[in-house]
């Protein structure tokens, strides 16, 4: 774990309101597994004060994150240019625990949840697997990095408005996939509502499922106690260091609960 005063080395715009920022980071600086994240803040003065959490899209000599502009922090980051300064802090948290028992990987992404799952899909490809990748969004403009995914995975897209792929929610192709009988494992990342639905479908097929949660964060490393999520037994888990990736039962309880 490191914090770096670094600079943006490349910016691309993979979809409307999305930027892929790449920053200088020696290979040894940010070793990461898919699902791990960094806290990032630009040199933008007193507002907003807190850094923002972003999943790493890849590991290596450069860090890269996908930013969707939804509020003040992400708008500032999305409008940054090559050579702008960043403070980057990471890699943080616990990523996906990649199954090595031969289960078929099914990756389910919603919106910017695609970021860690592209990283995961590439890891799996590097291990010789070609995962099934279900990618859902509201509309065609919210599907960044779909081409990159198609290179390493079997891609199925759904949009709520039907502008690309199947019309509807991502749980429909997930139902179909898990019904085909193959022993699978689900890795998912996206809005909290979607995660819960994906976990529910997985559970109904007795399929293990790992969810990557979001929570408002300050420190990103377990010291502020800000990112608590309540779990079924009444205690709390901390997204930044117990997660962000959890086994679905830890968060939503086992089937009979």
């Amino acid at each position: 774990m490191k914090y770096l005063h670094t600079r943006i080395t490349e910016v691309t715009y993979p979809a409307r309101d999305h930027a892929l920022l790449r920053f200088a980071a020696a290979a040894e600086d940010i070793p990461a597994v898919p699902g791990e994240f960094v806290m990032i803040r630009g040199d933008w003065g007193c507002h907003p004060v807190l850094p923002r959490a972003f999943s790493l899209v890849e590991s290596g000599a450069h860090g890269a994150v996908l930013v969707k502009a939804i509020g003040p922090g992400t708008q500032l980051l999305e409008s940054m240019k090559v050579d702008d300064e960043l403070v980057v802090f990471g890699a943080l948290g616990k990523g996906y625990r990649i199954d090595d028992s031969g289960l078929r990987p099914v990756l389910v992404a919603g919106g910017v949840g695609v970021a860690p799952l592209l990283f995961l899909a590439r890891e799996l490809a590097a291990r010789g697997q070609r995962p099934l990748f279900l990618y859902g969004a509201g509309t065609e403009h919210d599907l960044p990095l779909a081409d990159e995914i198609a290179e390493v995975a079997e891609l199925i897209i759904t949009t709520e408005d039907g502008s690309v792929g199947e019309q509807g929610l991502i749980t429909a192709p997930l139902q179909r996939a898990l019904q085909d009988g193959a022993d699978s494992i689900v890795y998912t990342c996206g809005p909290n509502g979607m995660l819960k639905a994906v976990a529910g479908v997985s559970q109904s097929h007795n399929t293990p499922c790992q969810v990557a949660l979001e929570a408002p964060m300050a420190c990103g490393m377990g010291t502020c106690k800000g990112c608590a999520v309540p779990i079924p037994d009444g205690s709390f888990k901390y997204v930044c260091y117990d997660g962000p990736v959890f086994d679905a039962e830890v968060i939503y309880g086992a089937a009979d609960e």
Binding site: V49, L50, C224, A228
Partner: protein, 308 residues
């Protein structure tokens, strides 16, 4: 890089001497040990650990943080590991690392404050005890001690009676008259004052039509509150003769200089640690450079904006 003991930066707070005036503020730096792998925590002026209570506390219902204009709210609820685990596991690590440890404690009754102090008094490796009589995020007690001079004096005096540790009392900006509270804790035997804790605020999520935080209100920190903290340090400096550790919104060298010039002998850095966990060391380096350009010491700066 500032040497561990720079003559310019060394600052003396009565019974406590710090190698430099930058202490990381309670609740914003965990127990300090978490940062040891990438921040030279022994070089910090000190670390005020997350507020410790007799029993571990799970904290409040989430969401626990949200942002405000140039600031943030938190309603953590003093989630902490409790004194037993702290003494058994954390303090030995801090000693090992060579950290200047300020133990921030929290309780809802005088008896519990006294018990905490008595237990810490027996330990080695504690540079000072900081009483948080001003946390806005707990229902019972907590801030009540911090809003009146008499109540603050009572808890300070009771703790003073059981410990010889350097004693720092942390004041709340919500006191109607913070000078009165400061005088109260001074007269009851506090060695130092730290100020300010957070001030309660609320953000409403207008889409959900409900307060953003699970606890509805939270303590505000960050640059937004800096003018309050500087003003209060300036006021309290005129009313007490014990040293003051200033805080609230420090995120740059200029911010720290404002506090020192207002009358603080040292400062704490809180919210800014989240964006840059090594910020205190960077600011110490910048302060060393600033002072040496002008051939000044930290002590020369303390309260230099008072007067006229």
């Amino acid at each position: 890089m500032v040497p561990l003991m720079s003559e310019r930066l060394r600052t003396s707070l009565g019974p406590l001497t710090l190698a430099n005036p930058f202490v990381n503020a309670s609740g914003t730096y965990g127990y300090g040990v978490e940062y040891a792998s990438f921040v030279d925590v022994a070089r910090l002026g000190g670390v005020s650990v997350k507020g410790i209570s007799l029993l571990p506390r799970p904290g409040n219902s989430p969401p626990r943080t949200c942002e405000t204009s140039a600031g943030m709210l938190n309603s953590i609820g003093l989630a902490n590991i409790g004194i037993d685990v702290f003494l058994a596991e954390t303090l030995p690590q801090l000693r090992e690392l060579g950290v200047t440890v300020i133990v921030n404690t929290f309780a809802t009754s005088i008896e519990d404050f006294v018990e905490l102090a008595a237990r810490f008094d027996n330990e080695t490796g504690i540079a000072a005890l900081e009483l948080n009589i001003s946390c806005p995020n707990v229902h019972a007690g907590g801030m009540h001690f911090g809003v009146s001079g008499a109540a603050a004096a009572e808890v300070t005096g009771a703790v003073r009676a059981v410990t010889d540790l350097p004693l720092m009392v942390k004041l709340s900006p919500e006191a109607g008259d913070i000078g009165e509270v400061a005088r109260g804790v001074e007269s009851a035997g506090a060695d130092m004052i730290s100020m300010i804790n957070t001030i309660r605020g609320m953000v409403i999520d207008v889409d959900r039509r409900r307060p953003m935080l699970g606890q509805k209100m939270g303590g505000m920190s960050g640059p937004a509150i800096k003018p309050l903290g500087v003003r209060m340090v300036y006021e309290v400096f005129q009313q007490v003769s014990i040293p003051i550790i200033g805080m609230g919104g420090i995120a740059s060298l200029r911010d720290a200089l404002e506090y020192l010039m207002a009358g603080a002998t040292a400062v704490q850095v809180g919210t800014a640690n989240y964006s840059e966990p090594g910020i205190s060391l960077r600011l110490a380096d910048e302060l060393e450079a600033w002072c040496s350009e002008r051939d000044l010491t930290v002590t020369d700066l303390v309260g230099c904006a008072q007067g006229d």
